[in-house]
């Protein structure tokens, strides 16, 4: 059976009685960029965080490049397995979560040095390469507290990329930023898109989703309501719920 690069099969998650993900399936091909949109509480962040098992599913499977991420294993083995898988899945958070006690350089090199056992010299070269990529090279020896929100997020992206992930997850990466800082982060993400990084992006920004994504998923109340190329989902949504959401969102934006 041919398999997609990322496969989510019948993902299901509930907290007690509350079902937040109801049987969601999704395939993403290598190099594809998928945006997930939807109102808050729709389950879109939960789905994203299930992909690297930050919020474990209660049912269903996640596959990356032929390996099951949420494999059923005894606790100790599972820990080893998931740590290995997470090295291949980069994640960028809404609130950056940079390590405030480490410099920009150390934020980028900490995990590669610890987990891939690379030398200080290699680590420095890696940090410089990745920070240059996101335009943050000149701030390499600053502490996170000395950076603007947009700069922090660019460093967070470099930190994730330094692990050479196969897949990048973005959880509302620009939602916590002042409007004038959003663009610099979007530019970095566009650059990654041109380099054919496989990305799954949870976002509120419809314009951005429309301009870089191959596919858009609209989620509401734990299900995928509508899915398709951006021009179809944004311009000619087939579902009533999608139309309502987009209309409200456009009004909100004005």
């Amino acid at each position: 059976m041919s398999q997609a690069f990322v496969e989510i099969r019948h993902a299901q998650k509930s907290y007690g009685q509350l079902e937040v993900l109801k049987d969601i399936s999704l395939n993403v091909d290598r190099g594809q960029i998928v945006a997930i949109i939807g109102p808050s509480g729709s389950g879109k962040s939960t789905l994203l965080r299930a992909i690297n098992d930050l919020d474990p599913l209660t049912g269903g499977e996640i596959w990356l490049d032929g390996v099951q991420v949420n494999k059923a294993l005894p606790h100790r083995q599972y820990e080893k397995h998931i740590n290995q898988m997470r090295q291949e899945i980069g994640m960028v958070f809404q609130h950056f979560n940079l390590f405030p006690h480490l410099t920009v350089r150390e934020n980028v090199t900490m995990a590669p040095k610890l987990l891939k056992k690379i030398s200080d010299k290699e680590a420095n070269a890696l940090a410089e390469e990745q920070l240059d990529h996101v335009g943050m090279l000149e701030r390499i020896d600053y502490y996170p507290a000395q950076l603007s929100g947009g700069q922090k997020q660019r460093v967070a992206i470099a930190r994730a990329l330094a692990m050479k992930p196969k897949l990048m997850l973005f959880d509302e990466a620009t939602s916590a930023l002042d409007p004038e800082l959003v663009e610099e982060v979007n530019l970095v993400m566009k650059k990654l898109a041109q380099e054919h990084m496989t990305m799954i992006i949870v976002t509120h920004e419809m314009d951005f989703a429309a301009s870089v994504c191959d596919r858009v998923l609209f989620m509401d109340q734990g299900v995928v309501v509508e899915e398709g190329p951006p021009e179809q989902v944004f311009k000619n949504p087939t579902q009533e719920r999608t139309r309502n959401f987009l209309r409200k969102h456009l009004e909100g934006a004005k």
Partner: protein, 218 residues
């Protein structure tokens, strides 16, 4: 019998040695209490129940009883179970463990206060829980608690006087030895008080320097 401070100079050497031992026991206990405090905090927050509960109980016992009583327990208790430690070592263990319990309370609070996102971010990079604790959570918590831990260390200096009762020849016992020969209690205790005060000032200065140095990353 009035006051006569001319009795002091012949004992300058004794007092100086006492100062050195006081600094030594304070430093050794401070190091033990610092790392012990981190260890106890990690156990209190992350160890399985079966380990956590007995530790919780011992911590409760040590926070609710006088240090002096604990020193007697450690000094005489260890002898009873066949471990005859030098008084200095018993003193370091007693002081170090006592303050480790207090430090651990501070570190626990600080570890809980480290944003949940920090652990998540470390885990998404592939770090194990333990690696994330060691590399990300503990260092941040420790920096946040340097001022209050510093205050504990200054309290430790003053409580180090208590180990004189189990026979550690630090400053207080040195003063007592001199008094034994001269019967000049006021002069020698006053001298000891001045010396403690000076060490205390020194520690406060170091603490302030440390706090300033660590301000950058905030």
């Amino acid at each position: 019998m009035g006051l006569d401070f001319s009795v002091l100079p012949p004992f300058y050497g004794t007092l100086a040695l006492g100062v050195l031992w006081t600094i030594a026991i304070t430093a050794a206990s401070a190091v033990l209490s610092f790392f012990g405090g981190i260890l106890l905090a990690v156990i209190a927050l992350y160890a399985p129940m079966a380990i956590r509960l007995p530790f919780r109980f011992v911590a409760w016992l040590f926070m609710g009883t006088p240090l002096l009583l604990q020193l007697f327990l450690i000094y005489f208790g260890l002898v009873q179970i066949g471990i005859d430690l030098p008084a200095f070592v018993a003193g370091v263990i007693g002081l170090g463990f006592h303050f480790a319990v207090y430090n651990s309370e501070l570190i626990q609070t600080a570890m809980i206060a480290v944003d949940k996102g920090q652990m998540e971010a470390a885990r998404t990079l592939g770090l194990s829980r333990r690696q994330a604790l060691i590399k990300v959570v503990v260092p941040q918590a420790v920096r946040d608690v340097i001022p209050p831990i510093g205050n504990n260390m200054i309290a430790l200096l003053k409580d180090s006087a208590l180990v004189s009762v189990i026979g550690v020849s630090e400053l207080t016992l040195s003063a007592q030895r001199a008094i034994g020969q001269t019967y000049r209690a006021f002069e020698f205790y006053a001298a000891a008080a001045v010396l403690y005060y000076i060490i205390n000032l020194g520690m406060e200065a170091v603490l302030r320097w440390f706090e300033n140095r660590n301000r950058l990353y905030r």
